[in-house]
Symmetry: C2
């Protein structure tokens, strides 16, 4: 299967995907902001995440990847339904060094442990330092697993209830295949409790 | 922050998550089937994915991880809304070697390139071989990035239109924090086109 076709199939197969909206700085301090939906939580001991900024059609690394390779720091924001239009602007291919912050209108706020700023508009921002980059494949659309350790989480009061994140308040956005997005709110949300633990079960 | 608390925060921060429903075999052929929502696509050249079966409260590796370490093969299924109850049964902690297939009622079908069977009930099944396992942290809830190369994708005709996966037909299920799930269908879905490419932009 040609890579371009495989790209479309992958995006429809593994869905709905959370969106990592990533802030980085180049070594000389130029800011970058871009969304990536090849993104996962990895664990919580210590808190860890990964995302994959795949090389573009020319095979060149994305600005985000270059900046993380060179500085080791980034901030991952969660994208809400309200952020969708501004986030979409940052998915344009600007030349290296052009600020997506200005063009999209997100508001930069100083981070606590890393140099890249965080966006005030996201209710959940995770400051990260690079742990490891694992490459799989070569060229356009090959995998670049950027694994980061989360140093601190900024969580807005307006998405919390009794000191915890309230799933019904966040209004999460998810990415699917083609131009599709999904909004995880109201009727789309439901609860399903885990079954009780089975301590022992006779074999056979 | 204690690990148990960090676990809850992570699950609410990085969401909505696609669910990898993973079929493996132990070296002596005992089948295992379990859901993991720390899961991502990585790229498509070659097609690649990762998921993280974190160690349980005793710090022991999950059966899925042990089986992949020993055999190098697994099948990842996408979970639909219709599969939710059966999938939930497999999230119980059964003793090693007990078959989640029997207890949940999924139907095993022979895979093409790997030994673990795939479940007939999932419209999207991805046969994978292990590329690499990256550990981050130690013990309960630490990250185990299992990176796999996708050898073949089984896609059911009923989720396709004109030879392509139809996002509106799949009825994807996503995982969020606590006991929350989201269903990506009908009103939850919408389209948002990428902005046109910016070829050049004056600096300054």
């Amino acid at each position: 299967m040609p890579v371009a076709e495989a790209y479309g199939v992958m995006a429809s197969c593994i869905a709905p995907r959370p969106i990592a909206f990533v802030s980085t700085l180049s070594p000389d301090g130029k800011p970058n902001l871009a969304p990536f939906s090849y993104f996962m939580a990895g664990g919580s001991n210590p808190p860890s995440l990964a995302f994959s900024p795949t090389p573009d059609r020319t095979g060149q690394p994305k600005d985000t990847l270059r900046n993380i390779e060179e500085t080791g720091e980034f901030v991952v924001h969660i994208v809400t339904y309200e952020m969708r239009e501004k986030m979409n602007i940052t998915s344009s291919e600007f030349p290296y060094g052009v600020s997506e912050w200005e063009h999209s209108g997100f508001t930069p706020v100083l981070s606590t442990h890393v140099k890249p700023p965080r966006a005030a508009e996201s209710p959940i921002a995770l400051e990260c330092k690079l742990f490891k980059i694992i490459e799989h494949g070569e060229g356009f659309a090959s995998a670049r697993y950027v694994i980061g350790e989360i140093l601190t989480a900024h969580i807005a009061q307006e998405v919390m209830t009794d000191g915890e994140i309230d799933t019904e308040k966040v209004d999460y956005l998810a990415r699917l295949g083609g131009n599709y997005y999904a909004r995880a709110h109201s009727e789309a949300l439901f609860e399903l409790a885990r079954p009780p633990k089975v301590q022992k079960y006779p074999e056979g």
